[in-house]
Assembly symmetry: C2
Homo-oligomer: 439 residues x 2
């Protein structure tokens, strides 16, 4: 929880720095709201039992509920964040959970092209940098470019989605296997697959986009050329935002979800101890086998699906998967220090003698009312040793000790748990002293 | 969300000031875990559809999952907080929701009597005071006292729970109606009910406890006398903690949940604009018709129910119902100021002339990297007027304006949105100036 709070606070700070307001949507959605939005993964949606009333499901992500919320409340522009849990009937294990937090940031509304998209990538970059998880890479593609290339290579329209799902596996299995699956399971001819393979294995910087613009096949596809022009504009914005060095255009990035309509992106962590300064042209072998830790894209048609008049609100967003980041952060934290404190208590109010319960209670009341984080043992007459041991176990740095002598002298004996040093502090200076020592 | 965050932060601060660590339990529990813990309200539990796998339900509160967690992880003492959502198949309306936050604080473990209980009430007092919702009252009773009185009055054992449910309605309906329900629906004789009425309508300070101790019937019931002795000790602790002035012992407080075994309590808001200094002996007519906003009690047997060896871990806790507090806080906020800001943006980066998109992007990048919360319109060439209107609408206090002249002079024109005052600030002083003006 302690690490979790730190990670959340970094994410939240970035979201707020970019002027987002928080909104909260219910964990339930009507089953029909979620139907047909997630492609093959729809089978992982949790349904509630029919106990009378509507057919409800648990939210699968924060994007579809957000779009439904915009349509219902007729909101035409907003910059929002949401940090909430989502639910999937998945087999838990290796960074996969049934219940996990997503941290989403979205910009909805009609704006000049690619400016909101660039800000989303800037936020992704900021957060991943500030989390100090090591090197990372943001892969960028565009659904229109991918579908344009599929069309160009001769893949029939009705196979775009199912073929995209296979393409998405390229970061986990070899091209040979992907190729075989396309031929054997998706019934594509080897010629089509090989032609496709020439494109979707491309990745790199601006040069890749230029290369495709000049490609004799791709340049004939209007949709692909639109996407390429947008990606070039996006790249120029990312350069100004100081983000371009972590971005690679990856033609093999497909993203499984149905609702994306334009730019799509996904962040992955890089292997190895040192962060590379430049992104090499082919770097898939440097990616840690960890899956994506943040992803998103543009979904211009989703709000319209929930609007009775079909009014569209263009949207673009990012979603940060906190669980994988947390397991990374926890591993790092464990390496760097043994005991992570689970509380923030500044001082334990203690006594060396019996019968000082009421005095301890009076002192702790004064500390609490000054905002000091303080504990006392819930024992009438605890031994001093057990009070000190409690501090060592839980990491409380100071002990405020009172007894007959201290009460008579109007002082409190303040003990530093680590150095074992003890100083008598006048009662009236105690709060300042504790604040000074624990700030 | 803005008000919500402020309320959460007050609650969280108090929990941490008392040395609690945060834990997070899953939203799902096995259906059997929740069965038989909530009395009549069990019908409000949400069950998941059987899609293969275990029979799951959504958590109904945070207490039962916490007890299950302690038993599973063999934790024998902990001071924990949890702020999470719970789910109930209730009819929404008037402060009732299907999905709402609970803010729980619990102390588990074997300690000297009533010390943890007193700390829980202290926290309840702190939070309700700091939230500044107006006058409040904490009603305190003890399950053992209630059951002792039921026994003393001749209510049969097997009717304790169902009669308690009726007693719990006393703050909503008149005694006459409660009396009739006990006689007509619970089959109690009018003599028993009238005898009972003499006790359960009692409420007040320490005098009520003394009165009961000297009562010829009650003083013969061991369980009731144990409870009375505990309540007196509790009262002495609450006096030291400076909390006793808000506490009233209320013999008609029953609390519906099955799992309480000792002290129980519930906080209610008082009607009227001014906070009463003293709690009058009978003050039920001063209570706002709002229901309880915080409640809790001691549940010593719940952890044992989940432990394979039945090992008990005594627990006491509070649960703060945030939704009613939020609707109060929102009403107050609306009264005191018209526009609640939903974002924290400090400055809008703007330009009065066209073709300064890239310059705006460069400036905002610098601001973001210094931690300034900044926005810019996602338009290539927005009008100055629409940029200023955006600030007025969203409450952004400052505008950083750049144009040809400013760039040439190495300055930024900083405009105060409210006063419309404009000052040229050297680029290198801009961040400090923004921080100074918005701190």
């Amino acid at each position: 929880m302690t690490i979790r709070e730190k990670v959340f606070s970094i994410i939240l700070k970035s979201f707020k720095r970019h002027g987002a307001e928080g909104i909260d949507t219910p964990v339930f959605e009507l089953k029909e709201t979620l139907t047909g939005k997630y492609g093959e993964d729809s089978k992982l949606i949790y349904d509630l039992k029919d106990q009378g009333g509507e057919q409800l499901s648990l939210r699968y992500d924060l994007t579809v509920p957000f779009a439904r919320y915009l349509a219902m409340n007729k909101i035409s522009h907003i910059k929002r964040y949401q940090i909430s849990k989502v639910y999937r009937r998945d087999n838990p294990g290796r960074g996969r959970y049934r219940e996990f937090y997503q941290c989403d940031f979205d910009i909805a509304g009609h704006y000049d092209p690619l400016l909101p998209d660039a800000e989303c990538l800037k936020i992704m970059y900021e957060i991943l940098s500030e989390l100090e998880l090591g090197g990372f890479l943001i892969k960028v593609n565009d659904r229109r470019l991918l579908y344009g290339i599929l069309a160009t290579c001769g893949v029939p329209d009705d196979k775009f989605r199912t073929v995209s799902t296979v393409i998405d596996k390229m970061d986990k299995i070899s091209w040979d296997k992907v190729r075989r699956e396309m031929i054997e399971e998706k019934d594509l001819s080897p010629e089509i697959v090989d032609r496709l393979g020439e494109y979707i294995r491309l990745n790199g910087g601006l040069a890749v986009l230029e290369h495709l613009c000049n490609d004799s096949l791709v340049s004939q596809n209007t949709m692909a050329m639109e996407a390429l022009s947008d990606l070039k504009l996006l790249h120029s914005y990312l350069e100004i935002f100081g983000v371009a060095d972590k971005v690679t255009f990856d033609l093999g990035l497909a993203r499984g979800l149905d609702y994306y309509t334009g730019v799509i992106y996904e962040a992955v962590l890089l292997r190895g101890p040192e962060e590379p300064h430049n992104v090499p042209d082919n770097d898939t072998d440097k990616i840690a086998g960890f899956g994506s830790i943040a992803a998103g894209g543009r979904y211009d048609d989703l709000v319209g699906m929930f609007d009775s008049k079909g009014r569209k609100v263009p949207c673009v967003g990012i979603s940060i998967g906190i669980e994988r980041i947390l397991s990374m952060a926890e591993r790092k934290a464990e390496e760097s220090f043994k005991n992570i404190r689970t509380t923030e208590t500044q001082v334990l109010v203690a006594s060396a003698q019996p019968h000082y319960l009421e005095e301890r209670m009076r002192l702790i009341t004064a500390l609490w009312s000054s905002g000091i984080k303080a504990e006392m043992l819930h024992k009438k007459n605890p031994k001093l040793l057990s009070q000190l041991q409690y501090c060592e176990k839980t990491g409380i740095p100071l002990v405020a000790i009172i007894g007959e002598q201290e009460l008579r002298d109007g002082v409190v004996k303040l003990r530093d748990v680590t150095t074992r040093e003890e100083v008598n502090i006048p009662r009236e200076d105690l709060i300042k002293e504790i604040q000074k020592r624990t700030s």
